[in-house]
Each structure stands twice: as C-alpha cells, then as structure tokens.
C-alpha cells in the first residue's frame, strides 16, 4: 500500500489522486487482462488519426532537406545540390535581420499576451450580461471581424487612423495633437498589436467562454453563500477554473513567436515604418526570396519549428513545475 501511495504521488494529475488510489486498489483485485484489453482498444482507436498524420504530415517532411540545399524544382529534393548551412548563413548575414527579428518578437509577444488577456476579460464581462438575447447577438457581432481578411480590414484601419482619418478628427475635436499612426515608428507596432487584438478578441473568447461554462455552478453558489463579492468570485472561482485553458492557449500560441502576421503587416505598413513594422515574413517576402527561393523559405520554416519545439517543451515543463499539470 505504501508503494502504491508513493507512485501515485508522482502522478502528474494531482487532483485525480483519489481516483488513482481507488484504481490502484482495484487493480489488486481485478484481473490484469482487462488493462491489457484497454491498451489494444486505445491503440486501435488512434490508428486512423496516426495514419493520416503519417501520410499527410510526415510524408512531405522529406522536404525539410530543402533547407540544406540549393533547391531547383526541376531536379527535385533528391536531385538538388546540398549546400550545408549556406541558406542559414545567408539569412543571418542579411543586413537588417536582427532589427527584423526584434520587430517580429516584439509584435508577436505583444499579440500573444494581449490576445490571451483581452479575450479572457471579455469572456468574463460577457458572462455578466444578463439581458436575454442581447448576449447572443453581441457574441455573434464580435466574431465578425475575424471573418474579414486583412485586405478589407486594412483599408478600414487606414481610413480610421491616417492623418485625416476619423480618429485624428476626433482628437482635433477634443483638442489633442494629431498622431501619424501609420507613419510613426513609435506608434505603428502598437497599432499592429491592438488592431490584431480587436480583430480576434471575439473569436478568441470562444474557448474561454466554453471554459467558463465547464465550471461547476455549485462552486459559485457556495461562494455566494459565503458572502463573496463579484470580484472575489471572479478571482477565486472563475479564473482558477479557466486556468488550465489559459495556460494551454498560451502554450499553443508560443510557437507563433516568430510569426507576427504577414497579411496584417503587409496591408498596413509603408516604407516610413519599415524600421519598426517590418517582420520576418514581410521582410523575406519583400526582398523577393520566398516566391523564388524555396530553400530559404524552408530554412526559415525550420528555424520557426525548432524555436517552437523548444518553447513548447520549456513552457510545458514550467507549467508542470508550477501547477502540477502538464498540457501534453
């Protein structure tokens, strides 16, 4: 029995300890064969999904060799010349690469953080709307921007924020100096971050709304009976209940740290703000390499994947250490 308790303690699912204890005890009595049967069942269940991944995700991975080649389509991956790390060297020797990397990470981190926080806040606030029907309509409306491409939203944003746009006209009315949102290197990255948050907060809040609904209402009732205030309930019931999904969504967003949103930047930036707004994707696109140079594109993709892998691994470990819960 002591032995069982020990192994259970190591279990990653702390809150399920009772269950494991019960199971372990049961295991002593139930025949082992049932467990074996379950194994086969699980394996059989996963078979179709894994097969699809092998064909459509792993099948094309021979293409990763292109990152180390001077790939020529007519020669194919197996006929093109290997050039070692030349593509990576070329990439890191581009004169603006570090500035561009900084811009990318700055904008991407801003988006990851705010695209998590704002939808959480919105989900909690929306949950407070008690007027029947209103909540439904609002939910539908806030998803709308998500369905529009940046080509369209770009022109809306430009019309709102250029020097004679609606926002600056409003500034004029209240006596503020006008701001060249689209042409100032100080403001532009923030404009990118906030307009992206605006586009996506409704859609991103779906997952958190789903998380809130999965919180046991009994907990709220208990808290109310204990005289908890609204804020206390949010802090001690809602947020902890959502926490696994907050962590999960953050971890899943982390591999995006080197992609700051090509379509958005491409439709909003102009040469005066290249210094602050040029990100990896737009830079490489603009210097005309992605279209022609598949090898370089693959090299950039590979760097992204590796950085993503490291981030996911590390963040998962951190989550495990601090909350006793792994996400994967």
């Amino acid at each position: 029995m002591e032995q069982i308790k020990k192994t259970v303690k190591k279990s990653i699912f702390k809150k399920d300890q009772h269950f494991y204890l019960a199971m372990e005890q049961k295991k002593q009595t139930v025949k082992k064969s049932i467990f074996k049967k379950d194994q086969h069942f699980y394996l059989a269940m996963m078979l179709p999904g894994i097969a699809f991944l092998l064909i459509f995700a792993y099948g094309p991975m021979f293409g990763l060799f292109m990152a180390f080649q001077d790939f020529v389509p007519a020669k194919g991956v197996f006929g093109s010349d290997f050039v070692g790390l030349d593509n990576f060297k070329y990439l890191f020797n581009l004169p603006d690469i570090w500035r561009v990397a900084y811009n990318t990470i700055f904008i991407a981190v801003g988006k990851i953080v705010l695209n998590t926080i704002i939808p959480i806040i919105f989900a909690i606030l929306l949950n407070e709307i008690r007027v029947k029907g209103m909540k439904k309509y609002m939910q539908t409306i806030v998803y709308l921007p998500h369905f529009l491409s940046w080509v369209i939203l770009g022109s809306v944003v430009v019309n709102l924020f250029n020097l004679d746009g609606a926002v600056n006209q409003l500034f004029e009315v209240v006596g503020l100096d006008s701001i060249n949102f689209l042409g100032s290197n100080k403001v532009f990255p923030h404009l990118l971050i906030w307009t992206d948050v605006w586009k996506g907060f409704g859609y991103n809040s779906i997952i958190f709304l789903a998380a809130i609904t999965s919180i046991d209402p009994g907990t709220y009732e208990a808290a109310t009976m204990d005289g908890a205030s609204w804020w206390q309930k949010v802090r001690h019931v809602t947020l902890p209940g959502m926490m696994p999904f907050i962590i999960l969504m953050t971890i899943l967003a982390l591999p995006g740290i080197l992609s700051a949103g090509f379509d958005q930047v491409y439709n909003l930036y102009s040469p005066p703000v290249y210094a602050s707004g040029d990100v990896l994707d737009t830079y490489i696109y603009r210097i005309g390499l992605i279209g022609r140079d598949y090898s370089l594109g693959t090299a950039v993709g590979l760097i992204r994947s590796i950085v993503g892998l490291v981030l996911i691994y590390v963040s998962n470990k951190i989550a495990e250490k601090s909350t006793n819960r792994v996400m994967f």
Partner: protein, 558 residues
C-alpha cells in the same frame, strides 16, 4: 513499442517510390488524340479576374480554342488555369512534379531552369520553317534582341512576347482647371512644360482649389517614388527625375562603357533635393510615404489632384475613373523639359520581353506553337474584315474580353508600333484617311472611338475619351511630336533578361535600401548630405557585386 516504431518507418519508406517517381524524363511520344482525330495539347492557361467572356464561354472553352481546333486540328486542354502569382506557383509545382504541360508561358528564370534540365524543346528549326513573314518581321523590328532573350546556347528555346518602353515619361494635368484658373501652360506648344510651370501650376491648384472641396493637393506620389519602366510609372516622380537627367532603377553605361546604377547618380541627388523642396513647401502631399496607391487613386477620382504623373496608357485604366465620376475632368499629358534649360526632353528607351512560351520536350508537334502564332498574331490581327472572317473574335473585341484568354498570354507588336498606330488612328478619326482602309482591326476600333469622342466631346462615353487621351494626346501628340521636333534625348539602358546570381542574392536587399532611404531624403528625415553614404551602403550591401557581374555580361557581348 519497437514494433511500432518500425511500422512508422515502414510506412514512410512505402511512400518513397511515389516521391521518386516524380523524377525522370520522357522521349518523343505520340500525342494523344480525341474522337475526331485532333491532337490533344495540354496548356498552362493564364487567366484574368474579370475576363468579360460572353455567357457560356470560359478559359477552357472559348473562341480562340475553337479557332485553333478548326484551323489546325489541335484541341487545347488546360493542364491548369490560374492568374498572376497563382499561375507562377502552378508552373513551379508542374516543374517540381516533372509533369509539365505541352505548352505554357513562363518567366525568363523558369525558362533557364527548364533548359538546364532539358525539359523544353528546341524551336530554332520550327520557327524558321513555319513562322509567317509578318511574324518574322515583328521580331526583326527589335534587331533580334527579343529573340536573343529566348536563345540559349544558340538555340531558340521559347517564343518571347514583346513589350517596349520608349518616349518620355509624362505628367497629366487637369485642363479644365487650367482653363478655369487661366493658367498659361506650354505656350510654345511643344507638348513639354518646364519644372517651373509644373510647380506653379501645382501651387495654383492647391491654393485656389478649383473644385472647391478644400482638399486639393499639389502633387501626390506613391511610396515607391520612381519606376524603372513605363508601365509602373503611374503616380511616381520618374518624369521629374528624368528632367534632371536621372534615370532611377535602371542600369546604364557611361562613356567608358562602365556600368553604373541610375538611382545612385549626382543627378538623382539633385532630383531628391528638388522633391525635398516641394515637400517642405507643402506642394508635395504631406502624407507622402504612407499614402497607398488606392488613396492616391481615390484623390484623383474625387478631384483632389490636378496633376497625375503616369504612362501614356494611364488614361485607359486610371484617369478614366475620374472622367466617369466627373465628366468635366479632362486630363492632358505633357512631357517635362530638362531642368538645365537645353529645351530637350529626356526619355528612356528600353526593350523588354513579356512571357516566354515553351513547348515540352517530347511533344510530337512543336510546330503547333508557331502555327498558332501565325493564326493569332498574323491572320486574325491583320484581318481587314474581322466582323465576317472571325465573328466570334469580333464579338470578343466589342466586349473587351481580356487578352489572357488567348492560348498563350503574350503580345506581339512591332517595335514602337504604338506611335504609328496612334497616328493612323488619329488621322482616320479626323477624316484624313478612311477608317475602313486601316489594315489592323485594333487600330480601326481605336479610330472609331476617337472619332466618337471628337464628334461630341462634351457628351461622349468616358472610354472614348480614354482612347482619345492615350492615342491622340499622349502617343501622337507628346511622343510623336517631341520625336519629330527632335527634342527627345533617348537613353538606352542595359538590357539583361535573365536574373543575375548577384541580383538574386542581393538585388532585393539593395532595392529595399533605396526605397527606404529615398523616402527619408524626400521627407527630410535624412539629410541629403548623407546621399553619398547611402551610395556606399548600397555598394557594400551587394551593389558592387551586381555592377561587376553586369559589367562582365556587357563586356562579353561586345
């Protein structure tokens, strides 16, 4: 678990043959035929977003394909259909999968790759044997440069389309505003104005706001500032820089045959200084740099711009929108006289090529391509009676169906034929010659439109005005007259068709440097004293290597 890993490995290996089979070439084979015994020829079909094709016709079934089938016994079948970048992607995918169509239009770089890997047919003999005299004459008018572009190791590997830049870059000025404000413009009548006239007109437009909307700008320029060819010179300062003797974004040779870059000259520095002055004085739009193309276009349509720089054909696709929105909006084109006061007009004359049509190596009937050229660019183009000989294509012309619907989306015109054609159309419209006698259908069509406009200028269709503006005003008057008056100083830049290795590696990088710095020079964010530093940055970031490689290519030609 080991077992499982093995299975994973096995499945991956099982896929390998599929992938490997993508390589491997074929030899000449018998072409497939359809039920009627026609040869089936697969093509990479370029498309256009709004083709204006009549009901029932499509890119896979249209008048051209029916004509080719009827005349040549060849049934064209699309291997893929796509537009612009998407087409280029399909070409790459076709090449990568080793399964290219029998015929397709590719870029010069794709052509090189196809030739290097022995995938396309040598057309030298079939061109000699089958091309009609008219077709050979068209290519002959370019002194062979166009065919040279498609010739690799002395073999003609593709049929190139033609395009040509010639004559001065222009600025288009609202004549109704000029009249309204009683501004004196081009008093010597040589269709060229001075920079001072340009500046004072811009100032007058801005200050006196003829449209009365309170938003009139003197001059607005897209943020790519200049252009290396006529086609993209709309909304750029190229014409202004030319008047300083600067030729941005092209490579030239000096008296010692040394290659230099047109954007990095002392003259360019002067042009930028001038533009900076205009910006400081507020004549150049204060939002220069962040203004998008669409913004400027909208300003033009709304009557907030009275001066629009653009190529001779901008009236057909750009200014016509302003004319539609406001029938009074009459833009008239002018060249700009040189800043040094020699009374001449600088211009760039550059031949280029459109796409390259290739035939898959092993296709049974490579001459099919040449025969189709003859049909499309000789028989049809020179038909005097389209309406009866080719009724379907006549209908296409009336509907303005997009040219991409042809079996190959290239154009074939004799060198500088636009001037002759415009002259002929203008003369015919004015009744000096008979419209029916004109040998080419396109010119006939233009002449009719110009005539419609001239007969009733105040109440004509905007598209008639557009043709009048581009053919009569821009080509015939400005291009033709400056040439006849011998005040044209035409510069011929270096033409290299393939992308050089150095350009592939650094061309875009130095291009970006130029774009970014020039905007700063104009807005004053960067002092023009740093122009020399920009030039040395340009050189060190790869420019020198490009110039050296280009020098080598040029020297080899001598």
């Amino acid at each position: 678990m080991k077992n499982l890993k093995n299975k994973v490995l096995l499945s991956i290996l099982a896929l390998a043959p599929f992938i490997l089979s993508a390589c491997g070439g074929e030899q000449t084979e018998e072409a497939a035929t359809n039920a009627d015994g026609d040869i089936i020829m697969t093509v990479g079909q370029q498309t256009a977003p709004n083709s204006k094709l009549p009901e029932g016709d499509s890119f896979s079934d249209n008048a051209y394909r029916r004509l080719v089938k009827e005349k040549l016994g060849i049934e064209l079948e699309s291997a893929f259909e796509a537009n612009g970048e998407d087409y280029d992607r399909q070409v790459s995918l076709a090449i990568a999968s080793g399964d290219i169509p029998d015929m397709m239009v590719v870029s010069r770089d794709d052509l090189q790759e196809l030739v290097d890997n022995d995938l396309v047919a040598d057309l030298t003999e079939v061109y000699e044997e089958f091309a009609s005299d008219q077709i050979k004459e068209i290519y002959g008018s370019y002194d062979g440069t166009t065919l040279d572009a498609a010739t690799i190791d002395d073999q003609l590997m593709a049929i190139p389309g033609t395009t040509n830049d010639f004559g001065p870059n222009m600025v288009w000025i609202r004549q109704d505003w000029v009249d309204q404000l009683d501004i004196k413009l081009d008093e010597d009548g040589n269709h060229a104005i001075t920079l001072d006239e340009l500046e004072s007109t811009a100032k007058a437009f801005q200050e006196r706001d003829p449209e009365g909307n309170g938003r009139t700008q003197g001059l607005a320029i897209a943020n790519w500032l200049t252009s290396g060819d006529h086609g993209s010179s709309g909304y750029t300062a190229t014409a202004i820089t030319n008047s300083f003797g600067a030729y941005p974004k092209v490579y030239l040779q000096d008296d010692n045959n040394e290659v230099y870059y047109g954007s990095n000259t002392e003259e360019m520095k002067e042009s930028l200084t001038y533009l900076n002055k205009l910006f400081k004085e507020g004549i150049l739009d204060s939002q220069f740099g962040t203004r998008t193309y669409d913004d400027i276009n909208a300003m033009m349509v709304n009557g907030e711009l009275g001066i629009v720089p653009g190529p001779w054909h901008i009236s057909d696709w750009g200014l016509v929108q302003a004319k539609t929105a406001n029938p009074d909006a009459e833009f008239v084109p002018y060249a700009i006289e040189n800043e040094n006061g020699d009374g001449k007009v600088n211009a760039v004359n550059k031949s280029a090529t459109g796409g390259f049509v290739v035939i898959r190596k092993g296709f049974e009937k490579p001459e099919a391509l040449i025969e189709m050229l003859n049909v499309v660019f000789d028989d049809v183009a020179n038909s005097k009676d389209m309406e009866n000989e080719y009724p379907e294509l006549y209908e296409y012309a009336q509907l303005a169906v997009d040219g991409s619907v042809k079996p190959f989306n290239i154009e074939l015109f004799p060198n500088e034929s636009e001037i002759f054609d415009a002259k002929e159309a203008t003369q015919a419209a004015k009744g000096e010659i008979s419209i029916e006698e004109i040998s080419k259908f396109v010119i006939q069509n233009n002449a009719r439109k110009i005539k419609d406009y001239l007969d009733n200028p105040s109440d004509s269709d905007p598209s008639d005005w557009a043709v009048h503006a581009s053919r009569t005003l821009a080509v015939n008057d400005v291009m033709g007259s400056t040439r006849e008056a011998n005040i044209l100083n035409e510069i011929k830049p270096i033409v290299i068709f393939q992308t050089l290795d150095s350009q592939q590696r650094s061309g875009a990088q130095v291009g970006k440097l130029e774009e970014e710095m020039f905007i700063k020079f104009v807005t004053g964010e960067e002092s023009l004293n740093n122009f020399d530093k920009y030039v040395s940055d340009w050189n060190s970031q790869g420019g020198t290597v490009i110039l050296d490689e280009m020098q080598e290519v040029v020297d080899e030609r001598e």
